[in-house]
């Protein structure tokens, strides 16, 4: 028996718009004199339906007897099929004809199990034969058994999970995995001044959950965000404990001014960066990338980051404790030249200046073979100064829970991070507490009190990390670091082995941060259904103490003949001094808003109207004394009484902002959404009369998946939405009071033996200074298909920033004396690009697998900027049309291999064989600064991407995060002259008289030094892919702990910055750091979470 359908069933979901009911009600006309087969053809002709049947089972030759005129299709079919002993059903655009006699035969019994993603059985899940009331609930093991008709489908559903429809087919047994409804469109996302259901959101918003962020074992929250959020460019330039902040840019850069996004913590601006927040306290981090940020008005143009901390949920108290311990090591330390290479280069440098060699061949050989390590050492300064690894740890405990009246989240954390210097005194410690309490005082009134406090304690040696790394990378390898007996030498002018320790004194920054918010939320439904009002007051205070205690340290010289050591005082610091500084700032934010939220039938309205103001003040003072008699007491009073060694100063600043804002969101049946938001902002930064600005944003969305042509017909589309937005946003992130002509104290001069204070004009005023304005467009589509097998979000964005505050120093000559120019609203920059985010969730066997990838491309273009009038034919130097921040550099086209080559091509007077050849771009036969070409790419990447993979199997789980950037460059410059050591790479295959085909230029020569003569030779591709984060966890079986009342115990191994694939092998490709800085860290971490 060939079970084929006469007509192939075709799916054309988007084209065919017929519906069961509508289909059955349409009218048709049949002549009467025809076979059943002919009637089916006629029905197909007159309707959009196709008639499907098995011609082996249905006798289509049977004639119909009666004509039908404009008769309902259902009536016609019922009559003609009854005679043929058949019945029909309409499925989609198909009329399925089945012989009635077969129905009994085709009934089958199926069995199965319903489980959740972790494989646990779901008890009480509904299993229903689609389109019928025939159904059953799963039992205690998640099992079911059900009789269904052939060709039917079953629907499996359970509250909180995504429903599934499964074709029965020939299968007898089913394993149904229900996925948690995480993509649920009822899910609530944080937006400006409130929350919205994800389904009706019309802006471009990205969210990372605290649970994911915490996987990165960094001590710095900012570093944990790299790669996790589409559109967020996170750059980490240093790994120094307590000074390892990141810069964050949303969707690239669009101003030559400040590109920092506005960061709000629980709705309050000005609470600092993300860096020092305790990741354990974070519920979510949300990024507003388009006009949805316009509600933050004059500070929103660079995007807005909203941090939400955890709150208690009704339920029994849950206590959790986590512990992490990790080892940090530099991702990269530059590989420096060894002593023999250094000696060879030194000789070459001497010869280029006409001097005799410094070292003989025998001496160089001794450096190379290491036979006389005391007189001919080969010192690797990095090895001498840096440890193989430094420890870090974090402990965190939190309690959360709640009753109907009060809910609470209380958390406390401690973390510490050691520096990587041997015997170093670098250490960062942090203590933090957070308490978020919500209390329902009456039926309608809720009061919340949030208090967070943090102590940051950063300790350093009195010499900066920059100073120490400067000596690591520049000290001669031919100089001993320490004598065989372990006593330190002087290095070159100071020994970094000692500089990194507490022998130099100490420097600390102790910072106490207090954030307090009290909120009242009053439900006014008794007055008008859906109405409410809330208000909060936030008080933030930071006290920072900085102290630098500098003490002279010693080093030794060795008299070989007598084998005696002489102690000397170092040459950098020869007196004990103390500087003490106190900074205090406080900030007060008041906010009140009226809220209205109601649904009228299919119409939903959600509106707010609010007021906010902030005042801020900062005070700072410091005092210092030098020439302490002894190092016994590190207090100011113990310093010298000679007033020449006293100094002190102080200053202050204050600011004020006031705003009105509002939003109206409307949706029709969750299908059509429109939103308008605005902010009317007043800022102290500008002159009265120019202080207020209006910043509106509009957006709209269409959730196509809610339309019945998709909802009812295309079951694999769970969600599909298109949306767009436009807004005007501002950026007031500029120095205040630029409209004033200011005089500053300074440029002192000595008269009569006394230092007299000078007073000079500080820059020039700009009376017309106003905000930068950004016109922001965004178009996006998002969807979830096949219950999460594919999720996507695609966005195109464009922003035109105008009124960019820039200085006209490119065109105004310096002889006018207009040197410290003010910012003027002259620049225009465009930034556009796209973002793609794809996600996938699947279960294969017992393995749950998730993948999500994000990709952003953003390119900015300078539309107008003050331009030096380079003159005709030099358009390649223009800034306009290129990327912001692109510098001018000579184009290196090779190396002059010999005098003949030098004579044959234009060159600078300073050029000699072995130097880089700069291209004579303007062809005037001379190399001048007019031959410099504007760079195409900058240190800031045009492309960033992240890929997050995770899987779990039984009690094991693993997550992997790859992150990277492309279309970025980094200058890697190593000065190879007689002042310092240099990268090994710089010396390899360098041009010498015996290696005239070398690929690197000769030693020395200002032409070859990329800082004084920026040139393309040193510019390298800074693309990279990095295994940013890897975590492998194991949840210990419950039965092990039952007696300990531990409900859950998970242990895990994790790592950060584990490996990097890139083109630059010498320094870390991230950031712009170049050797003399505390490098980025790789971290290996072991952690444990306990829940009681």
């Amino acid at each position: 028996m060939v079970n084929t359908f006469a007509k192939p069933i075709c799916f054309a979901f988007f084209m065919c718009c017929s519906f069961n009911l509508k289909a059955q009600n349409q009218s048709i006309t049949l002549t009467g004199q025809m076979t059943l087969k002919e009637a089916f053809v006629e029905i197909e002709k007159q309707t959009d339906l196709s008639v499907d049947y098995n011609d082996q089972l249905v006798n289509t030759n049977k004639r119909i007897n009666k004509p039908y005129t404009n008769t309902k299709l259902s009536d016609v079919l019922n009559t003609i099929l009854k005679d043929a002993g058949c019945s029909y059903s309409i499925q989609g655009s198909h009329i399925l004809i089945t012989p009635e006699s077969n129905q009994q035969v085709k009934t089958q019994t199926i069995t199965g199990t319903v489980v959740d993603e972790s494989g646990l059985p779901i008890i009480g899940a509904n299993v229903i034969e689609a389109g019928t009331t025939n159904g059953i609930m799963t039992d205690i093991d998640g099992k079911f058994s059900l009789s269904v008709s052939a060709g039917s489908k079953i629907q499996v559903s359970y509250i909180g999970y995504l429903s599934q429809e499964i074709k029965v087919g020939n299968k007898k047994s089913f394993e149904v995995v229900l996925k948690e409804d995480t993509q649920a469109l009822e899910e609530v996302v944080v937006v400006g001044y409130g929350t919205q259901k994800k389904g009706v959101v019309t802006g471009s918003i990205a969210t990372a959950k605290g649970d994911d962020i915490i996987k990165s074992p960094t001590q710095n929250l900012g570093q944990a965000l790299a790669g996790r959020l589409p559109g967020l460019v996170v750059s980490n330039g240093s790994g120094e404990p307590g000074a390892d902040g990141v810069t964050i840019n949303i969707r690239g850069k669009s101003t030559t001014g400040n590109n920092d996004p506005l960061i709000l913590i629980d709705g309050i601006a000005g609470r600092g960066s993300l860096d020092r927040l305790n990741p354990n306290d974070i519920e979510s981090i949300t990024v507003l990338k388009d006009a949805s940020a316009a509600i933050y008005g004059s500070r929103s143009a660079n995007g807005v980051i909203l941090v939400t901390t955890k709150r208690g949920k009704t339920g029994k108290p849950s206590i959790s404790y986590s512990f992490n311990v990790g080892v940090q090591q530099p991702t990269r330390v530059p590989d420096l030249a060894d002593a023999a290479t250094f000696a060879e280069v030194t000789n070459e440098l001497e010869s280029y200046d006409g001097r005799d060699p410094r070292y003989t061949a025998d001496e160089i050989e001794l450096f190379r073979n290491g036979q006389d390590p005391i007189h001919y050492p080969n010192t690797n300064w990095a090895d001498e100064v840096l440890k193989k690894g430094a420890l870090q740890q974090r402990h965190n405990i939190s309690v959360s829970g709640g009753t109907d009246v009060v809910s609470y989240y209380v958390g406390g954390g401690y973390s510490s991070q050691d520096g990587i210097f041997k015997n170093g005194s670098t250490k960062y410690e942090q203590y933090d507490v957070r308490s978020n309490i919500d209390a329902k005082i009456t039926k309608d009134l809720k009061i919340s009190v949030d208090i967070a406090s943090r102590l940051e304690d950063a300790n350093f040696p009195s010499m900066s990390a920059g100073d120490i790394f400067w000596r690591i990378t520049r000290s001669y390898p031919t100089v001993l670091a320490q004598y065989p007996n372990g006593l330190p030498t002087n290095g070159l002018d100071s020994n970094p082995i000692v500089m990194a320790t507490d022998k130099t004194g100490y420097e600390y920054d102790k910072k106490a941060v207090f954030n307090g918010t009290i909120t009242a939320d009053w439900n006014l439904s008794w007055l008008l259904d859906g109405l409410g009002v809330d208000a909060y007051m936030a008080y933030d205070r930071i006290g920072k103490d900085h102290k630098k205690w500098q003490t002279p340290w010693t080093f030794y010289t060795w008299n070989e003949a007598t084998d005696t050591y002489t102690e000397h005082m170092n040459t950098l610091v020869q007196q004990t001094s103390l500087r003490q500084e106190h900074l205090a700032d406080w900030s007060l934010t008041l906010n009140a808003k009226l809220k209205y939220k109601k649904t009228f039938g299919s119409h939903g309205v959600d509106a707010i109207l609010g007021f906010e103001q902030n005042s801020y003040r900062k005070d700072n003072f410091w005092a210092s004394r030098g020439s302490f008699m002894s190092t016994a007491i590190d207090q100011l009073f113990a310093g010298t009484s000679n007033k020449d060694y006293y100094d002190n100063s102080g200053d202050a600043s204050e600011s004020a902002r006031r705003s009105y804002f509002g939003r109206v969101a409307y949706d029709f049946a969750g299908k059509y959404m429109a939103q308008f938001n605005f902010r009317y902002d007043g800022s102290y930064i500008f002159q009265a009369g120019q202080r207020w600005g209006f910043f509106p944003g509009v957006s709209a969305g269409w959730r196509m998946s809610e339309e019945s042509f998709i909802k009812d017909n295309i079951d694999w589309i769970n969600n599909l939405k298109i949306r767009g937005s436009f807004g005007k946003q501002g950026n007031d992130n500029i120095d205040p009071f630029q409209y004033l002509l200011k005089y500053n104290l300074g440029r002192n001069y000595v008269f009569g033996g006394t230092d007299m204070v000078g007073l000079y004009q500080k820059g020039f005023p700009n009376n017309n200074v106003t905000w930068e304005v950004a016109d922001t467009w965004n178009i996006g589509a998002e969807g979830t298909f096949w219950n999460g097998l594919l999720g996507f979000e695609v966005e195109y964005f464009k922003t035109k920033r105008s009124n960019i505050l820039a200085k006209r120093n490119a065109s105004i000559p310096k002889y006018t004396g207009l040197i410290d120019l003010p910012n003027e609203n002259i620049g225009r920059v465009q930034n556009q690009g796209m973002e793609i985010q794809l996600s996938h969730f699947n279960k294969i066997g017992e393995v749950n697998f998730r993948a999500s990838g994000n990709f952003m491309f953003a390119r900015n273009k300078v539309l107008f900027m003050d331009e030096t009038p380079w003159g005709e034919g030099h358009e390649y130097m223009n800034e306009t049309g290129g990327q912001m921040g692109a510098g001018l550099q000579y184009h290196a086209i090779g190396i002059f291999k010999d005098q003949a080559a030098l004579d044959a091509y234009p060159h600078l007077d300073a050029a000699r064989p072995g130097d880089l050849i700069f291209e004579d771009v303007d062809g005037d036969g001379e190399i001048t600064s007019l031959d410099r070409v504007r760079q195409k790419l900058t240190n800031f990447p045009e492309i960033i991407f992240g890929l997050n993979l995770s899987a779990d199997w039984k009690n094991f789980d693993i997550s992997v995060l790859f992150q990277g950037q492309a279309r970025a460059v980094k200058d890697v410059i190593s000065r190879m002259d007689n002042t310092s050591n240099f990268y090994k790479w710089r010396a390899e295959d360098r041009w010498t008289e015996n290696n005239i085909d070398g690929t690197m230029p000769r030693a020395g020569g200002t032409i070859n030094y990329g800082v004084e003569n920026p040139c393309s030779f040193w510019t390298q591709n800074a693309s990279f892919v990095r295994l940013k984060n890897l975590e492998i966890g194991y949840t210990l079986p419950n039965l092990w702990f039952n007696k300990l009342r531990i409900s859950n115990c998970r242990v895990y191994l994790s790592g950060q910055n584990l490996f990097t694939l890139d083109h630059i092998k010498y320094v870390d490709p991230e950031g712009s750091g170049e050797g003399n800085y505390y490098p980025q860290m790789r971290i290996f971490n072991l952690g444990c979470n306990l829940t009681f």
């Binding site: 006409g354 001097r355 109207l609 102290y684 009265a688 002889y815 007019l930």
Partner: protein, 541 residues
């Protein structure tokens, strides 16, 4: 109910009525009204303009760009000039860093605007007339000094007397001639002299005085009469130079100091104008120039070219001249006393021990245990300006003053003018005043003709070494192409087992001087921004 919403909304909006909430003032600066109507603040404004003129205590001194010294830290700065590599594109690189007083263009014009602002506002300033008059004089001097320093470097420059603002639409200028600039400077100085006391003393010590104006006048007129700009050898110019120098020599109350070494460290009657320092406002001359073995950075090391020009005390002849009495085995014996006051040589007693520039293992040589990357390559260190009572380290600065004008220069200015006016006797007399100064007492000069000119030039080289003079002298005499094309020479000193020294001359830097380097190039960016109305100096591309 609508009423209630209305009330709530208007309550919210009513916050806006108090707009002064947003009225904040900067808490770290003062406004213009205050400055020009307050004696103390206006004085402070003038004080800030004093930093306009370049002192000589850069890490790389102009001496290292000329044939006085060499600094191993000068590859990005003075060595570029010494190698003949300076051009319109790299000259601005000097502005930040070790050599910041060299290309003076940007600094000068920035200060000139502040000075010009003063002249546009001072008349209406509500301050005491006496103070106003004195400050006016001081500012006139400062402006003259700034322009002098510009023309000595660049030749004729644009004379700008207005305070440009951003509202100006045309910033293009042309250069005034050297003569026009000189006239302008003299005019400012003559006015200043009328407003200033002869000397500034007590709490005003260090301020511009009428005497300082006269000293500057002498140097300006001397330079203006010199062959580089006085191409026709107009004797009138020499007469003006002679008279100006004589006017300074005849000033009451000045005499040559009795100790050539402490002259540069302490107050004395020879000084006409200098910049003082205190601990709070200090320089780092000790750190920059001291030997590595003492913790210094070993910069601006005198070269053999200069050492060879110090005569023998006994004979008044240079070591290279026959009959000088020079002993190559003991090269540092019996030299002009100013040699020892200026230069630290191997074996010189310094801070409690002898300087060791010898190898092997000399503490101040490249084999020293301390800071060998700071050792001298020439075998010498700078001693002038070094106050042994002050420390050599990075954490504490030093207070040796920088002397702009001292009496000895004006004897030599006078001698030079008289030489060109053919009064050789007067010339010799003036030179011998300087040579016979207390503690120096070199044999008198008796030479005539070009030999006398040589002696005169050499006297200036020795007496005024490291005082920011040689660089300009070689140029205005138009002999830089001879002297600055000679390689910089150092002395390699090897000590044998018996403690005997072997002296070998070595090259420390291959020098080059090109015709364009008689003047500094105007930064190319300035020429472009002027829309090419500003003309570049000759021979620069």
């Amino acid at each position: 109910m609508k009423k209630i919403i209305y009330l709530a909304v208007s309550a919210l909006l009513s916050f806006s009525s108090c707009n002064d909430f947003l009225d904040k003032k900067p808490l770290d600066s003062l406004t213009e009204d205050a400055v020009f109507n307050d004696d103390a603040l206006l004085t402070a404004y003038v004080t800030a303009c004093y930093s306009a003129y370049p002192n000589g205590f850069d890490e790389a001194m102009s001496s290292s760009a000329t044939d006085e010294s060499y600094t191993r830290h000068g590859d990005g700065s003075s060595n570029i000039v010494a190698r003949g590599e300076m051009n319109p594109d790299n000259v601005e690189n000097f502005d930040s860093g070790r050599f910041s007083n060299f290309n003076y263009w940007n600094t000068a014009y920035e200060y000139l605007r502040n000075i010009n602002t003063f002249f546009t506002k001072y008349e209406e300033a509500q301050v005491s007339e006496e103070l106003k008059s004195r400050l006016y004089g001081e500012m006139k001097f400062i402006r003259a000094f700034v322009y002098s320093n510009l023309i000595w470097r660049f030749g004729g420059v644009p004379i700008i007397t207005k305070a440009y603002t951003l509202e100006d639409t045309d910033y293009s200028v042309t250069r005034n001639t050297y003569e026009e600039c000189v006239d302008f400077i003299l005019q400012d100085l003559d006015e200043a002299i009328e407003h200033l006391p002869a000397k500034m003393e007590g709490e005003n010590k260090g301020r511009a005085s009428a005497d300082a104006c006269k000293a500057l006048k002498s140097r300006v007129l001397l330079y203006a009469a010199s062959p580089l700009v006085n191409t026709s050898n107009d004797l009138k110019k020499w007469e003006l130079a002679r008279d100006a120098a004589k006017a300074v020599i005849d000033l009451p109350g000045y005499s040559l100091a009795s100790d050539y070494r402490t002259l540069f460290l302490e107050d004395n009657d020879e000084v006409i104008f200098r910049r003082y320092y205190t601990k709070a406002n200090a320089n780092r001359v000790n750190l920059f120039n001291s030997p590595n073995g003492y913790g210094g950075w070993g910069g601006n090391c005198p070269i053999q070219n200069l050492v060879d020009d110090y005569e023998m005390k006994a004979t008044g002849k240079k070591p290279t001249e026959t009959g000088s009495g020079y002993d190559p085995a003991n090269p540092y014996e019996g030299r002009d006393p100013r040699f020892y006051a200026t230069i630290l040589h191997n074996g010189a007693m310094f801070r409690g021990r002898e300087v060791e520039t010898f190898v092997p293992n000399g503490q101040d040589s490249e084999q020293g245990a301390i800071g060998s990357w700071n050792c001298s390559k020439t075998g010498y260190y700078l001693h002038k300006f070094h106050d042994e009572n002050q420390v050599i380290n990075e954490s504490e600065a030093t207070t040796a003053p920088w002397t702009f004008f001292r009496l000895a220069e004006f004897y030599l200015n006078y001698a030079e003018a008289q030489y060109y006016l053919d009064n050789e006797e007067e010339c010799r007399k003036a030179i011998n005043v300087v040579r016979s100064r207390e503690g120096v007492e070199m044999p008198p000069v008796t030479a005539t003709g070009t030999e006398l000119l040589e002696k005169l030039r050499n006297e200036r080289r020795i007496e005024l070494s490291f005082e920011n003079q040689r660089y300009f002298d070689l140029r205005r005499w138009k002999i830089a192409d001879e002297y600055e094309n000679k390689n910089s020479i150092g002395m390699k000193i090897e000590k044998d087992e018996n403690g005997n020294f072997k002296y070998t001359e070595i090259t420390v830097l291959e020098r080059n001087f090109l015709p364009q380097h008689y003047w500094l190039p105007i930064p190319r960016s300035e020429i472009i921004k002027s829309n090419y109305t500003l003309e570049q100096n000759p021979y620069y591309n």
